[in-house]
């Protein structure tokens, strides 16, 4: 039984507990022994992406000490996973245990597909779904092929979702355009950020999606904010929620 340390992004812990629960249930369903080490807070990405390396370092060190003894570390966020696997190098270079941590940390869909070799998730989700490919998951973790690259097409979240009964993944005009969240970018470049978000939502609407899903709740938090302000009917759900069998909160027809 794989022993998994559950890495829940700080804002998911506080604001989206249902996404954490869905992740936990999903991992348990596929036979993992999951533990949430309660000392964890944040991986330090907000500071690192603002350029404040010295403010990020203590959090990276704290993260390493909390997670270093697990067999695997799994996280329902491409962005936070990429922080550990791609950007901790600079903060933790040469520290004992970091190299191992980097290799055993996975984003949820990546872990299900590549480590647990899950080919089909049982369940039913009879809705039209637009998959928003969150950027760090796509272009840093390579959870799917990016539209810019001329490589064989694949998509790990899409592969898992398409196994659900009744689901229809709708084609988007721009398959992997950024939603404009971008951490502090969302407030520092508020105008562009919101325009990007609205354009992203519109792409899902024109494709007829009932639900927008993504591997990162941060993108969805940003778009939920815009959707709610504009009273649009489209809903947002994390990939883990859909895979764990949750249904849209208010199925509007």
């Amino acid at each position: 039984m794989p022993r998994v340390g559950l890495f829940i992004p700080c804002y998911v812990d506080q604001l989206y507990p249902q996404v954490g629960m869905a992740t936990l249930e999903l991992l348990e369903r596929f036979g993992c022994d999951v533990e949430f080490p309660s000392a964890q807070t944040c991986c330090g990405q907000p500071m690192a992406n603002t350029g404040c390396t010295n403010d990020a370092r203590p959090l990276a060190e704290k993260f390493l000490s909390i997670f270093k003894d697990y067999e695997y570390v799994v996280c329902p966020s491409g962005s936070c996973t990429a922080m550990v696997t791609h950007h901790y190098e600079e903060l933790l270079h040469g520290q004992p245990g970091y190299e191992e941590l980097r290799k055993k940390t996975f984003e949820l869909c990546e872990f299900l597909v590549d480590v647990l070799k899950v080919t089909k998730v049982e369940g039913r989700f009879p809705y039209k779904v637009g998959l928003h490919n969150s950027c760090h998951g796509l272009r840093e973790l390579r959870l799917g092929s990016s539209s810019e690259m001329m490589v064989e097409r694949f998509n790990k979240a899409g592969q898992l979702l398409s196994g659900l009964e009744g689901i229809e993944l709708v084609p988007l005009k721009r398959p992997d355009e950024c939603c404009g969240f971008g951490g502090t970018f969302a407030v520092a470049e508020e105008a562009v950020s919101c325009m990007m978000g609205l354009d992203r939502i519109h792409d899902h609407e024109q494709a007829g999606a009932d639900v927008m899903t993504a591997g990162d709740m941060s993108c969805l938090m940003h778009m939920y904010g815009l959707i709610t302000r504009q009273k649009k009917p489209i809903q947002v759900m994390h990939v883990a929620e859909i895979l764990a069998g949750r249904q849209p909160a208010a199925a509007r027809s």
């Binding site: 309660s38 350029g51 971008g182």
Partner: protein, 466 residues
Amino acid sequence: MSDTLTVHHEHPDNATEFVADDSRAHWHDQSLWFVRSKRDKAASTLPEWEELRNRASGIKRHAMSRLADYLEEFERNATKLGVTVHWARTPAEHNQIVLDILQKHNAKKVVKSKSMLTEECHLNPFLERNGVEVVDTDLGEWIVQLRHEPPSHIVMPAIHIKREEIGELFHKHLGTEAGATDPPYLVNAARDELRRKFLNADVGITGVNFAIAETGGFVVCTNEGNADLGVSLPKVHIACMGIEKIIPRAADLGIFLRLLARSATGQPITTYSSHFHGPMAGGEMHIILVDNGRSAILSSPDFRRSLNCIRCGACMNTCPVYRRSGGHSYETTVPGPIGSILAPSRDAKTHKSLPFACSLCGSCSDVCPVKIDLHTQLLTWRKEIAVRGYLPLSKRLSMKFARILLGSTWLFTTAGRIGRWLVPKLPRFMVYNRLNAWGKQRELPPMPRQSFRELYRARKNQAGKK
């Protein structure tokens, strides 16, 4: 005007202004996305696309690692072909060299094909101050020249201007019919006027896309043939190039030509790829090699790869921020992702907001034909800007605060509990006001009663009791 951009604004302020005209911002976004889509189609026709990118990146990195040697080899071979090679450390030196050549020939009229380097050096205003008439003969560049504006894109300088506005501009300057917007009609009017400029020019200036060390020759890529025309009629040709334009061998050229036009506009190749190997009979050819900060970039391991750039503009076309904020919002000669790396290398304080004009989506890095790690370099610039103390106080303080809050599990969970309890109870004006940039157009997420860790603990206790 490009030489009078002395008052610098932060990118978010310029972007906010651009976005405020929603229909124009969307038009701009869609125009550039159309070019990006054409690029995707063109790239997908080559099964070896990714291999070409690898090769091109490798050749450029190699060339940069031995730049001095290749430049000297180029100088030797170009000299053998009868070309006069000049070296310029700064824009001022470059401009003076051009002026000296013009004065030697008593030249008063110059036609210039597209050259971002001469934009970078602000050559036009310098020559005009010295009594020389310069005409940009690339249609887009000529349009922005008539409007007294800098280009907003390095390949499509007038991409920010609508057809109707060009009609008005030509009506004013060329006497075309008022209200005319028909592209062939406007293009013909421009062609007639430019033809006169070509015929009367004393000297032709071009940029350089690729300079080949092995042969001493160089290549200029255009779609309008304006480079050929501009240097075929006058007897004197001055070619201006940044020192990073060098490639080692003639055999390398094919790789870059295949990548350049596909990445830039989605064409298999530019309409004209003009090869120059020495002056015409009885004429003169000059090449000016310009540094202007490139050696400094070369000495930095973090930013060295930005010199791989072949100025295709693909990173601009794909950048979701560039598309929605316009090239002028960057207030640099080269805008977009690559410009946001190059500009701080010259003046980090002035351009400190540019590396943050980016959501770190990484699309630029994946689209770049020479594999510059653009978004990683933008992130590295953010760190540099923080280290040099140019971060705004608000960002510095909020990150210090976040470090303290998130550094302690107790503080983090307590603050979370209080926030989740308090925010829904507050009157709306206390949550959504001027201080809350998030809430200007967005609602906050719903505040759940319990955090994940609380639910997890409850579930574990439940399981323990069973």
